[in-house]
């Protein structure tokens, strides 16, 4: 067990409740609200616990409104928790101590940090001054990052003239110039095309490999998650549903596997074996319970001339989807 002081991020029984004004409907109520406002409590985060070890890249998954952004805001010092504790690099984030802020970075997808009217290089200069980056380190990193992301020609254009993808590249460069040890990424690849997403992912992975930085990443994109993270924390309605390896996610939440079989003489009544996902003359995909996998596979091999047979996990998207649409988030064993 690592020394607690060495664990970059520790979250314990963290909670956050908001007071939200009740929206009035109709004209009459609107006028009444001039005199009396009503509020209701919204529990955004309920006593969550987890830790991040040094150098880990952890994916923080959840549907909109699950509490991901609220948690990240608490970890970056933007919100006070209602209860519980959190420590980032040994500090309580909401104290916003300068020593902590110099060692972390926050990047939010589609939200700009860099000055709108200035070219990126000017913003880099500002970062250098703000974070106190030594000149030689600054130049070296700046040159390196600009080259890796291939943004030399746009670095001198005002941010407002750049496309979303180009802007995000600049944002990430700016965020990493001061060599943060903990990186909070809130949907960094949202709205970007596939190529750009891959580039940014690779960049972050490289940074993590070279610097041993700890990364907490929220995303809706499975590709982000499967490409980058070793561990996943799933949150829904303010509570953590799962905290463990990515591979385990299917085991935990999906009671099914998918059998993909290729054969020209498949039997007609495949529906008896399981849920038929896809069916052509030469190919079929069937979703079966985990327990039934070997039975069904064996059966298919026996009755048809199988040229290919694969046993796959339910796609992650489907798993996540089911997790968030089911009530308790327990394993899904409803058979169609």
């Amino acid at each position: 067990m690592a020394n607690p002081l060495d664990i970059p991020v520790v979250v314990d029984a963290l909670s956050k409740t908001f007071k939200v004004p009740v929206r009035e409907a109709g004209l009459g109520q609107s006028v009444m609200s001039l005199f009396k406002r009503e509020f209701r409590d919204v529990e955004a985060v309920k006593e969550i616990r987890f830790t991040l070890d040094a150098g880990e890249i952890v994916g923080f998954l959840g549907p909109n409104g699950a509490g991901k952004t609220t948690t990240i805001k608490m970890l970056t010092g933007l919100l006070f928790p209602t209860a519980g504790t959190a420590r980032v690099l040994g500090h309580e984030p909401w104290r916003r101590e300068k020593e902590l802020l110099r060692r972390i970075a926050l990047v939010m997808g589609q939200r700009n940090n860099l000055a709108w009217d200035l070219p990126a290089v000017d913003s880099f200069e500002l970062n250098k001054a703000i974070y106190g980056i030594p000149e030689d380190v600054f130049q070296k990193r700046k040159g390196e990052y600009i080259e890796i992301l291939d943004v030399a020609d746009i670095a001198t254009k005002p941010i407002r003239n750049l496309s979303l993808g180009e802007r995000m590249k600049m944002e990430i460069v700016a965020a990493l110039l001061h060599g943060p040890e903990v990186l909070f990424l809130d949907e960094p690849t949202i709205g970007l095309d596939v190529t750009m997403q891959r580039r940014l992912r690779q960049f972050i992975l490289d940074y993590n490999a070279q610097n041993g930085a700890t990364v907490l990443l929220t995303s809706h994109y499975m590709a982000d998650v499967s490409a980058m993270v070793s561990r996943v924390v799933v949150i829904d309605h303010g509570s953590i549903l799962y905290d463990g390896p990515l591979a385990g996610l299917s085991d935990r939440f999906s009671a099914h596997k998918t059998i993909r079989v290729e054969a020209t003489d498949l039997p007609e009544d495949l529906g008896q074996l399981g849920r038929v996902l896809e069916r052509n003359p030469a190919r079929a995909s069937i979703e079966v319970r985990r327990e039934d996998v070997s039975t069904v596979a064996g059966h298919l091999l026996a009755v048809a001339t199988v040229t290919d047979l694969a046993i796959e996990e339910t796609p992650l998207e489907d798993v996540i989807d089911r997790v968030f649409t089911s009530e308790s988030g327990g394993s899904d064993d409803t058979q169609n």
Binding site: T70, K73, L78, L79, R96, D117, Y131, G132
Partner: protein
């Protein structure tokens, strides 16, 4: 790691970058010149219409009124150059949730939001204001000594500090009320009250503009100093008010940040 930059260095850096960037857009110079000229013209027309009908407005001669107009334009120029652009940025940050970034930087947040933007062309107003004050001084045939000029300059600095504090306080308090772009319009309206010397206002208005929103100290007092209507010790009062205003705005800022929870999530 070397030490992060101090506030003065950061301010100079922002100033340099903002100015260099803005200088590219030379058209803006002419646009601003036009607007400033129009603004000044309407002020002069108003004064002209008044003095068409009378010789003395509540004890103020036309030359003295000109001094007030000059200071008003000058301080207005300061506001438009250094304060207002930052307030717009701040409001935008709150609305778009990007204030989060400012709050996760290892620099005092009030410092960042106050120095990062600059509208260099509004310095035209400052120049025009100085010109009008100079004109006023010759018009009333005052003969300011070096001491008077220094006092005037210090009074102007106090005025700048006061209006900055007013603007920042107003914007911070309106954090919660979303869509607060008209707050700037209202502040401008309030600022217009400074175009005339507060001594001609009824007591309740004069009091509000001295105690609650101390525009009197920002504008009327410097004008009175340079037109030799009052003694130099008023300067002490101005310094006191400026310090108090800055302290209050600091407290309000910290309060505002504590209450901030982002416009989203």
């Amino acid at each position: 790691m070397s030490r992060p930059a101090g506030p003065i260095h950061l301010a100079r850096l922002h100033f340099k970058l903002g100015t260099l960037n803005e200088l590219q857009y030379r058209v803006n110079f002419w646009v601003q010149l036009l607007n400033s000229a129009l603004n000044l013209a309407t002020g002069l027309i108003a004064i002209a219409v008044v003095y068409n009908q009378t010789d003395s407005l509540g004890g103020w001669t036309s030359g003295q009124l000109l001094a007030v107009l000059g200071v008003h334009v000058l301080i207005g120029g300061f506001l438009k150059t250094f304060v207002v652009p930052n307030m717009w940025s701040l409001i935008r940050d709150v609305q778009e949730g990007t204030l989060d970034y400012t709050l996760t930087r290892p620099v005092d947040s009030q410092l960042i939001v106050s120095i990062r933007q600059i509208n260099i062309w509004s310095l035209i107003d400052v120049a025009l204001g100085v010109g009008v004050v100079a004109w006023a001084v010759t018009d009333i045939q005052a003969d300011p000594s070096a001491g008077d000029l220094i006092a005037f300059f210090v009074a102007l600095l106090c005025g700048a500090a006061i209006v900055y504090a007013i603007w920042l306080t107003a914007v911070t308090i309106a954090f919660k009320a979303v869509d607060i772009g008209d707050l700037m319009q209202i502040l401008n309206g309030v600022y217009e009250a400074g175009r005339w010397p507060v001594t001609i206002y009824p007591l309740w208005l004069r009091g509000s503009l001295t105690v609650v929103i101390p525009l009197a100290f920002a504008i009327t007092v410097p004008a009175e100093i340079i037109s030799e209507r009052i003694e130099g010790w008023w300067l002490i009062a101005a310094l006191g008010v400026a310090s108090a205003a800055l302290a209050v705005s600091r407290l309000i800022w910290k309060w505002g940040i504590r209450n901030y929870s982002g416009a989203s999530a």
